[in-house]
């Protein structure tokens, strides 16, 4: 076992890990190591060959590989150590990281700080218990994307997609363009989970039907998929048996949710939030375990990579502060609570000295689609201020800035709450 000491270890070389590493480096932490399980950096971005990345961060519209390349260049221009084809097997709360690769064998890395940036895994058909058989041809949309865009294979040519989140929509277009017949995208809920531009550019452009209030109720086929049965669902999302109909298909793609991949976090005794599936963090993205930070999709599922970058810069900055022993907790902790119509808010705690920060961006998701809304912030029950938005959709993350000046004026604070309410007269 090779033993190494590092100032900062970043687990995951996707957009989150890359931004955190770069920021920490620029803030003075030169001894940084990124551990990446794949053969190249970029995380999920190299397979996201479509555009729509960077509109906020770079004010340009880039494809996934182009967005990744900017941050890969940043890391390569700096003296940041990168280990590819390296799988992390364990993380302890004392910040010892155990990893393995072919070149060096087994590594024990003792870190002053760790940034968790492992991303997500996809929810599977078995996990949602779709009845029927278990033939070849049923795969998650992300895995299909890897096959199509990296490995060079098209899984099948008669496709049904379950789930209208962005991955499902993007793969609908991708399969169609590569010559498949995409017969339908089924969505359990009465509204789509993806960005509106994707519904337009992936489904409407190609006359692919979007079947809201529908789900797959059976998978048919013995060796290879032969057909799927889809049914309409009622207000309680239960299938209505009389509406069942069979669609001939050799491929079923599932886009039924992303799950932050926190098995390593749990090994380090990091406490998770039930609502996000990721760690509970303070505004510096530090978890309950000293010196262990989290950012990106492992913390909560983001819709745009631009927010991942912003969040990871915060994590990198604070990891650097922590290492330099320049990291002060105020000794008071304000809990950030999700109020009416809000699924979750990140960060869940505010407890650090302000330093030079001007604001704390609060990231949140509305729990149901609403129009003409007020986003209200409360401090210990008193309304602080409101923002108006023409609409709020669960598929689109909302970022609300909490000004530092406001926090300063409030002094001791127990709770910040956010709710999203439709305006009167709607």
């Amino acid at each position: 076992m090779r033993k190494v000491k590092k100032d900062l270890v970043v687990i995951g070389g996707g957009p989150a890990g890359l931004a955190a590493a770069k920021t920490a480096y620029d803030d003075g932490i030169k001894d940084v190591m990124i551990l990446e399980r794949d053969f190249e950096l970029g995380g999920i971005l190299p397979q996201c060959i479509h555009n729509g990345f960077g509109l906020h961060h770079f004010k340009e519209e880039l494809t996934g590989p182009e967005y990744a390349q900017r941050f890969i260049n940043d890391v390569e221009e700096r003296d940041i150590e990168v280990k590819l084809d390296t799988m992390v097997l364990d993380v302890t709360k004392e910040r010892k990281v155990y990893a393995m690769n072919k070149k060096e064998g087994f590594l024990e890395i003792e870190a002053k700080a760790v940034v968790l940036a492992m991303g997500c895994r996809e929810r599977t058909s078995g996990a949602i218990g779709i009845p029927g058989t278990r033939p070849a041809g049923v795969l998650t949309a992300g895995t299909a994307q890897r096959y199509t865009n990296i490995e060079g294979f098209v899984p099948g040519k008669e496709v049904v997609i379950l789930g209208s989140g962005d991955i499902g929509l993007i793969m609908a277009r991708r399969m169609k363009l590569e010559g498949a017949d995409v017969k339908a995208v089924c969505e359990l809920l009465p509204y789509t989970g993806g960005l509106t531009r994707n519904v337009v550019q992936c489904l409407e452009d190609y006359d692919i039907p979007l079947m809201l209030n529908h789900t797959v109720t059976a998978i048919k086929g013995e060796g290879r998929l032969e057909a799927v049965e889809i049914s309409e669902v009622d207000e309680n999302l239960k299938p209505i048996p009389e509406t069942a109909k069979t669609i001939k298909a050799d491929t079923l793609l599932l886009s039924v949710g992303l799950i932050p991949e926190n098995e390593l976090s749990k090994k380090a005794d990091v406490v998770l939030d039930d609502r996000t599936g990721g760690p509970i963090v303070n505004e510096g993205r530090e978890t309950n375990i000293e010196g262990i930070f989290a950012c990106g999709n492992v913390l909560h599922v983001h819709d745009l990579v631009d927010w991942v970058t912003e969040e990871s810069q915060i994590a990198g900055k604070h990891a650097a502060k922590y290492i330099k022993d320049n990291y002060e907790k105020t000794g008071r902790c304000a809990e950030v609570k999700a109020g009416k119509n809000v699924s979750y808010v990140i960060p869940q705690k505010i407890e650090l000295e302000a330093g030079d920060r001007k604001r704390i961006p609060l990231y949140m998701r509305v729990s149901t689609p609403l129009t003409a809304v007020d986003i209200n912030l409360y401090a210990d029950g008193e309304k602080l201020y409101s923002f108006s938005e023409p609409f709020a959709k669960p598929g689109e993350m909302i970022s609300v800035p909490l000004a530092q000046k406001t926090l300063d004026d409030l002094g001791n604070l127990d709770e910040i709450k956010v709710d999203i309410i439709e305006k009167e007269g709607n």
């Binding site: 097997l89 996809e122 599977t124 078995g126 998650t140 010559g179 060796g223 098995e263």
Partner: protein
């Protein structure tokens, strides 16, 4: 067709593999035939994985005679062949409103079957040893000799040991007819040619009746009886310490809640006859029955952390017993049919019994001199500590590349699984041997990598790699093929 075998065994499920394993200790030429691309792809891969203690089997049936013997036998063979096995004991738990006298009846039956060390236990014992069980649980039959095993690994280990001792295994070889001459078996016709033998053992599981009909035996009739299951990610916050049964009713043994030897939580099975021997579909109603049954025993169970649903088919003969006997109308043909529960537990006893029947039929059993008793323990990273893993990777760098993140499976384990005797040829075969793809992401991450490794090792195109059955290719088209692309791939 040149070689003449002493014994041909039809079907490489747990029964066929156990018979092959048993006979391989004798100076015999043995051929084990399997129609699918791997051993244990039928009932053996889709059951509750229990080594029953033996109190449930009818003492007047063959099942009753062979279960307890098999329970002892499997313990020994698990050690010798390094098959994952844990003797965690089983409980038949009675809730307040159940007919609790059934528990006493099972106890009596167990005594008749010579099941050792059973006890009737009460509320306190249950509270202490099964803390998550329903507060309504008042009485239970405790049988410490029950256990859990990896059933496909048991079959594979026995097949591999048989091969190490000179037996042959032919996969993807389906028997189309059994040939007889003058009232004697002379061999079989298959889709891969004809094979001669003096003795044929019919261990064809769901298709044992169809094989028996080939020699004019009509009495065996196999009805597929479906059982549905949920399997969970590794038992974490929810501890179940034993194999837990409800009180059985006349129609059903009930929904079991059990940890598996790989540390997943398994609930099921239902029990319903179906028409088709290939109907392996789970159903909404069946899964509901599983969940509700499990919840009765463990009220705090929910469906979060389930990773897979599946179904298996029991090969139920009309007699509801094992049919292990020499054919009366033709010499040299032995049926090992109707092997449903407790077939897995009884497998070594079934093998012994079958060997005796063959000897009675005239097969000479003379023990081999250089018989290999053991199988080397396969490398299983998922079970190892970090220290042990570090040692392995120092010996061979190919252990250093982890392919399956969820179950921690290395590149070398997968390559070895493909290249070992009775090697893996499909994605599911790799999964059964190594655990790659059996975890919480169900192959989402490792799938493309496993397909690539199989293609490389077998020298085939990734579009030829199958999941399990004949037509189950994972990938149908190369990129751009559907666009009518005329450019050739570089190799």
């Amino acid at each position: 067709m040149n070689k003449k075998y002493d014994v041909i065994i039809i079907g490489a499920g747990i029964s066929g593999c156990a018979v092959a394993w048993k006979l391989a200790r004798y100076n015999l030429d043995i051929l084990l035939l399997e129609k699918e691309a791997d051993v244990a792809t039928g009932t053996t891969k889709a059951n509750t994985a229990i080594i029953h203690a033996g109190y449930n089997a009818d003492p007047d049936k063959l099942k009753g005679h062979l279960n307890v013997k098999g329970n002892q036998g499997i313990r020994e063979v698990a050690k010798k062949l390094n098959i994952p096995y844990e003797e965690i004991g089983s409980l038949v738990v009675g809730l307040e409103d159940d007919n609790l006298s059934v528990i006493d009846e099972l106890y009596e039956k167990g005594l008749k079957n010579n099941v050792p060390n059973m006890e009737i236990v009460g509320k306190e014992w249950l509270r202490e040893h099964e803390p998550n069980i329903s507060p309504k649980a008042v009485k239970a039959l405790w049988a410490p000799t029950a256990g859990v095993i990896t059933p496909w690994e048991a079959a594979l280990a026995m097949a591999q040991n048989a091969v190490a001792n000179g037996a042959e295994v032919k996969l993807e070889t389906a028997v189309e007819d059994v040939m007889t001459e003058d009232g004697k078996v002379v061999g079989v016709k298959t889709n891969q040619g004809d094979f001669e033998a003096d003795y044929v053992v019919n261990a064809a599981g769901l298709y044992a009746d169809e094989i028996a009909k080939m020699v004019g035996i009509e009495k065996i009739n196999i009805t597929p009886r479906k059982g549905e299951y949920y399997i969970y990610d590794h038992a974490k916050d929810f501890a179940v310490n034993h194999v837990v049964f409800p009180v059985p009713t006349p129609i059903s043994k009930g929904i079991v809640v059990t940890p598996t030897v790989e540390n997943n939580l398994l609930i099921g099975p239902t029990s319903h006859n179906v028409k088709s021997k290939t109907d392996l579909a789970t159903t909404r109603e069946g899964l509901k029955e599983v969940y509700e049954g499990a919840k009765k025993l463990y009220p705090s169970l929910d469906l979060r952390d389930t990773i897979r649903v599946f179904a298996g088919l029991r090969a139920a003969d009309d007699s509801e017993d094992f049919v292990i006997e020499a054919a009366e109308n033709v010499k040299g043909f032995v049926n090992v049919a109707g092997i449903q529960s407790p077939g897995l537990a009884s497998s070594t006893a079934i093998a012994d019994y079958t060997a005796e029947i063959l000897a009675d039929e005239g097969l000479k059993l003379s023990e081999k001199k250089d018989y290999i008793e053991t199988r080397e323990e396969p490398v299983r990273f998922y079970e190892m500590t970090n220290k042990e893993r570090a040692k392995m990777v120092d010996q061979n760098k190919d252990y250093g590349q982890i392919i399956c993140r969820c179950e921690t499976v290395s590149y070398k384990e997968i390559v070895d699984a493909i290249n070992s005797p009775v090697g893996a040829r499909t994605v599911n075969a790799v999964k059964r041997r190594t655990r790659a793809g059996a975890g919480r992401c169900q192959g989402g991450f490792c799938g493309p990598r496993v397909v690539d490794i199989i293609a490389q090792e077998l020298g085939i195109d990734p579009t030829e790699v199958k999941q399990e059955e004949g037509n189950s290719q994972i990938l149908e088209y190369k990129i751009k093929e559907l666009l009518g692309s005329k450019v050739m791939d570089n190799a």
